[in-house]
Amino acid sequence: MQSRREFVKEMVAGAAVLGAGTKFALGQARAAEKSKVVIVRDTKLRSPGPAPDEKRVAAMLDHAMQTYFNAQNPVQPWKQVVRPGQVVGLKLNSLGRMLSPSVALVATICERLQQAGIKAGDIIVWDRGSRELEAAGFKLSNAPGAVRFIGSDTEGYEDAAVSYGSVTTRLSKIFTRCDVVINMPVLKSHNIVGVTMAMKNMYGVIDNPSTMHGSACNPYIADLNMVPQIRQRVRFVVGDMMTAVYEGGPSYRPEYAWNENGLIVGEDRVAIDTISAQIVERKRAEKGLQTLAQKGTPLTYLATAADAQHRLGTNDPARIALIEQRIA
């Protein structure tokens, strides 16, 4: 269990790295400010082949990060997220090779982190299961001095439980080893919660996710994100929207998949999820499907995450500064 002293130290460290301009450095929204969310899409992402072009994926990431941090070069943004000496985790959301964070995207982030002063051996790319990582196209590796690709199934979970509200759980030992975690979800519908993106990806850092699916995962998703370690260490979201699913998720369903060819980045996990839900709703409307609320999956966890008790971010579109850019 984290001591109060460690908790305060972590909060100060978080504020120092992310700076005063980032209101979610301490995990709570300041009411007067808008939450920035950046989406970058590339209309030529898949040319000439059907798969995303690796160089264009890297360019799209750099464009999104530089736009978000108003930076002049691709490395500068990462220096505002991490600092040398920290252990940085990339928490993926691996659901097979068609619906997982792109290997090229992960490779580019690892490269930028190293350029920002993080040692390769201090970068951990991980998810709940080794099998899922492999299925997503990542080669498992735990060699010292190199970027690690490992699953919580092999590393295990902490003995001590952590809790907040409705949630009592044990954290992955990989998660607790990380000073900073970059959350890397994939945009998809979810047959219980409506849409899953940043916040629900935290179900992959705990040992008992199956106990938290009742009542459309509400208030579990919000409460889980309020667990101090998760609220503090998960500093930034890089969401993969290159391929997304508007129905039948969270598994890959080619009949309901589309190429959004984009990335979404930001610090406010609730705002990211709110915008992501709008994108899925738009696609559903285009396909003539019911809204998520009509379908019985009205995303109730978003309001809970934004309420006065949680204040994890905002679900109010009027308080989200959405910047959408297209590169070609």
Binding site: R97, M98, N191, I192, E255
Partner: protein, 167 residues
Amino acid sequence: MKMRMQRTRFIAIAALLTVVVLAGVGCKKKIADPFPASGAVAGWEKSGKTQSFDAANLYEYIDGGAEQYISAGVVGVSTSDYKFQGNLEATVDVYTMKSADGAKTIFDADPPTADSKSVPLGDAGRVYTQSVVFRKGPSLVRITAFDAVPGESDALLALAHGIEGKL
């Protein structure tokens, strides 16, 4: 006399027990292997080992998606990868539900798309450009391809018929 009666009674009970046990074994439904072997369906090769998950560990296979199946009464799922003519890769998932109603619940949850069509397969079937879904009794089968190639639907449908025949 008494001993002979006891012996006769013992033999009768033993015989009855043997019949009951044998009948139990005979009635126990064999779990069929629904996966066609390589070459059993023209052009299709079984390219992976069959993996099985029961309701308790289903989330290990469909992380985040297990609850829908559990609430519909899933018993387990078996899955295997296939390849068609060496270039089209597909995954076959065979879900076994407690009843045909459970399979219908899952099947009906998927809305048709503009390019999908119903096909005579099992109790109900639907083919999409890159996938086939059908149900037969308590079984719900989903075949998902990962590439778009010409003639894909026909190839997937042929594999689906191969599986349907084994259920």
